[in-house]
Amino acid sequence: MPEPLLEIHNATKIYRGGFLRPGQQLVALQNFNLTIPEEPATITAIAGESGSGKTTLANLILGFISPTSGEILYRGQNTSTMSPRQKLEYARQVQAVFQDPYAVYNPFYRVKHIFDLVIKNFGLTSSKQAARDLIEDALKMVGMRGEEVLEKYPHQLSGGQRQRMMVARAYLLKPRLIVADEPVSMVDASLRAMILDIMLKLRDQQNISFLYITHDLSTAYQVCDDIYVLYQGSIAEKGDTVRVIENPKHPYVQMLIESIPVPDPNQKWNTDVTLPSEEELRSQVDTGCRFYPRCPYHMDRCLVKQPPLIQMDSGDHQAACYLYDQTTAENQSGVMEKQSATKTE
């Protein structure tokens, strides 16, 4: 069996110090596991609210920070023990596209500069003509032409154009994986589709996998193959995107999907959601399920130990919730009924 492209084993990231009180710690990511296969290329969504650990995960993969424990394997090679040469190759094969297309450009340079830099840093070519061809090819992939944009300054381009250029820059290096951290949250609805479409094209035609980090479940649903929904650093639910979104099992994921505003004025929100104020103040439950304070179905055992990922009835779909633990037989059927009743409301 071939090695997976990227494998994360029990990664945990704990922040200490800084503004935190002495002894206080913040678990940003806990025992996180993820596998992205070598073939075929896939788009994997990492979804969750702010503070759920999405960006920590991206930073770990991109090597900006290192895990407190656990390991990240790229084609079987632990990223923390790579030789400098392997590191450079890893940096080429794993690219990033960030959230804010306004902040990533240096306003004093023409946009051509971002391409020149990568070509120079990775020594892609020394010939001017070859470099130009590479850039044109990359821009063509995102539906742009060099003569239209390269000589411009960043402020002369729209947000959508800038974000496409960032994808082109990543593509220029012929990566195997692009970590896209909220790539469409700052572009508009009508342009969002274009960027998502480019992701699909790169996956299908160029065999490039994506880790699509987002808080927007609807765009994840439209383009992603697999999804991991995080809640305060742990996986709440994961699996095939269509299965998870169409039939969410974890109470948190159910709440998330229910809260997405329905684009239909005849179908208004009818119930009020409230957040317990403790929850809003981000105090964390140290033991047990992190979602306990907000969960409508919480049980005593949820406080004892964090629930493991439990396999759902069909296929590739797991949720970290004791509601589905076969060993809690007694009240389970009752709860499940209650749950399906609220779902159909």
Partner: protein
């Protein structure tokens, strides 16, 4: 030409409801070395008592500029070239700076974009809200002030202990609600909220949206809600104005817009809403295409319009009432 034509027509609101805000022929230009950019192109808008008007469009369509122009807060190189902004009959554009300060916040309040990041990090919540009240209104006794602030916090669903807290102790949603409390501190007749829920995750977004609805219900305040999330608009607003490149291209009650979008741009906006109900092919479109300094003659949307005709390249389509209370600027009809 279109400006005067529309004005008389659009004066008739829904039966008997008085107008709170009336914007007429508002123009904002930005000076650049190579000529003026027309940011807001003769916009006419009415907001009636107790209604929420949604202002939608992609970024760069100048929704925020329009909001700032209504408050007369356009910064250079931008300038208001012409037009009227009347609140209860007072034209803000004609007021002196001092008179304006009386009206702003007392009559019209703003929740700016990214408001939650505009709180002063070294000031307790109580002092920030107190400041908003004291600068714009007569002095009150400390006791009165405290009671007022606690009432405001309760109104936006925040616990009383927030009163003594610093912004960094609050979550994004709570900070956003502090900003709403500041906006309603002086019971204005109209609030302009610029993307009040962007950068919040869906559950918190929903809590903040509910707060806005509650505030509107309790105070009967009118609102202009700026955003690009059509789903949120469907949930929150009564009427929608669709803006494209500085022009209002369609304005109608929210149900009518969703039932029958008339302008091709509105149709495009609605088609590109990602759904969690069905997986469908993406609708891919280009963004703004023309040079804002030199808008093409005729319709502003012609370069992206799938139904473009010869007439669109020559004549500017006026905003016309095509269905009852449903206005659109398009030659198709």
């Amino acid at each position: 030409m279109t400006v005067t034509m529309n004005r008389t027509k659009m004066d008739n609101g829904p039966a008997g409801v008085p107008k709170v805000l009336e914007v007429q022929g508002l123009r904002v230009h930005y000076a650049t070395p190579s000529g003026d950019v027309i940011a807001v192109n003769g916009v006419n808008l009415n907001v009636y008592e107790g209604e929420t008007l949604g202002l939608v469009g992609e970024s760069g369509c100048r929704k925020s500029t329009l909001a700032m122009a209504i408050l007369r807060l356009v910064q250079p190189p931008g300038r208001i070239v012409s037009g009227k902004v009347q609140i209860h009959g007072i034209d803000l554009i004609a007021l002196s700076e001092r008179e304006l300060r009386q009206v702003r916040w007392n009559q019209i309040a703003l929740i700016p974009q990214g408001a939650m990041n505009s709180l002063n990090p070294v000031m307790r919540v109580k002092n920030q809200i107190a400041e908003a009240i004291v600068t714009h209104q007569v002095q009150r006794s400390p006791q009165e002030l405290k009671e007022r602030i606690l009432r405001l916090l309760a109104m936006v669903g925040l616990p009383g202990r927030v009163y003594d807290m610093y912004p960094h102790e609050l979550s994004g949603g709570m900070k956003q609600r502090v900003c709403i409390a500041m906006a309603i501190a002086l019971t204005p007749s109209i609030i302009i909220a610029d993307e009040p829920t962007s950068a919040l995750d869906v559950v918190v977004q929903r809590v903040v949206a509910q707060t806005l609805l509650d505030v509107k219900r309790t105070l009967g305040v009118s609102m202009i809600l700026i955003g690009h999330d059509m789903g949120l608009m469907a949930q929150l607003v009564d009427r929608i104005a669709v803006m494209y490149a500085g022009n209002i291209v369609e304005i109608a009650p929210v149900k009518d817009i969703f039932a029958e979008p008339l302008h091709p741009y509105t149709q495009l906006l609605l088609a590109s809403i990602p759904s969690v109900k069905e997986r469908k092919p993406l609708v891919v479109t280009e963004g703004l295409t023309h040079d804002l300094r030199r808008p093409p003659p005729g319709c502003i949307f012609q370069l992206r319009c799938p139904f473009v005709m010869d007439k669109c390249r020559e004549v500017v389509p006026p905003l016309r009432e095509l269905r009852p209370n449903h206005y659109a600027a398009c030659h198709l009809y």
